[in-house]
Symmetry: C3
Subunit: 131 residues, 3 copies
């Protein structure tokens, strides 16, 4: 297992970590297998989505703000209840196949840390397992 650190800059944003994950895959030496990703936080998750147009990421966080508005009337009183909810919506884990030493992603796909209560320093735990 390898842990990478991701610095986020806003309260809510999707940070592209595809390159860092690809580096971990390369260092693992695995040619054919699966890359597992796990975010050990409860107010940030992980998602795979469009890498080409950054406005897509903005749309995702904005729609999630409508679903769970920050500052609404929540039971959890630490001011980040919305961030917990969004984390359960996008999820805390993902996997991507590895072939020929590369992440098998679609043309437009990138891997994103989904920050919902930043800015912070976040961790993503990665393991690459050969078939």
């Amino acid at each position: 297992m390898t842990t990478i650190e991701v610095k986020t800059r806003s309260r809510e944003e999707l940070v592209d970590i595809t390159e860092e994950v690809q580096k971990v895959v390369a260092q693992s030496g695995v040619k054919e297998g699966i890359c597992y990703l796990f975010v050990p936080h409860t107010t940030a998750g992980i998602t795979i989505n469009e890498t080409w147009d950054p406005s897509v990421r903005k749309d995702i966080t904005e729609v999630l703000r409508k679903v769970a508005p920050p500052g609404a009337n929540y039971h959890h009183t630490e001011g980040n209840a919305d961030a917990h909810i969004k984390t359960s919506v996008v999820g805390s884990n993902a996997f991507v196949f590895v072939s020929d030493g590369r992440l098998v992603l679609g043309t437009w796909q990138g891997i994103y840390l989904a920050e919902f209560d930043g800015p912070r320093s976040r961790r993503v735990i990665i393991h690459v397992e050969p078939f």
Copy 2:
């Protein structure tokens, strides 16, 4: 890894791919293991849900339309921002256990490609790994 092709017929629909996935499991020869599924698109995802009553699938896409209405005011101007958002909600990957050469699904469960920007030809990448 095996890639199956899925033709979708509407802009938004859940297409039952359980049979096709089961065929890939059978061809793999794996008796006990895990079947991994990955959708290499950013406007279609994968989900596991009720197979018996097709109206459930309609309810899922209709509620997601309310969460992210097509044609609302988005930053992404290609007309499918809602489809990207929905993809991050349902997710791009899933796994199902395999036992005795069969997918281990609950009585009512089926595997669905979740199309949010069809009709199109979509791909699902599948790998069956023995324990």
Copy 3:
């Protein structure tokens, strides 16, 4: 594969199953690997979220009630269409890394069965695979 049973007490609630999952990990004897979790139901899912403050779980189910209100006008007429939708939002499967025989969870993370149509007896299928 091991199946654990989870009794739920309300129509909608997040039940902490972290301890039970940790027991399955211990019994497996696996020191380094991955713990896979799968919920074979279509009106209950699985999610990883805050374990410290139980009010977070209440916020999650309440916001999901707003997304898919019980008793709204659905095509599926069994009275639990909302539960199916919520299951696709949180998902039916998850994995957690295992190191030194323990689940690798963040300080605040716990594993939850997400009940959306209880109270019922639910099952979670678990497999721990060594690296």
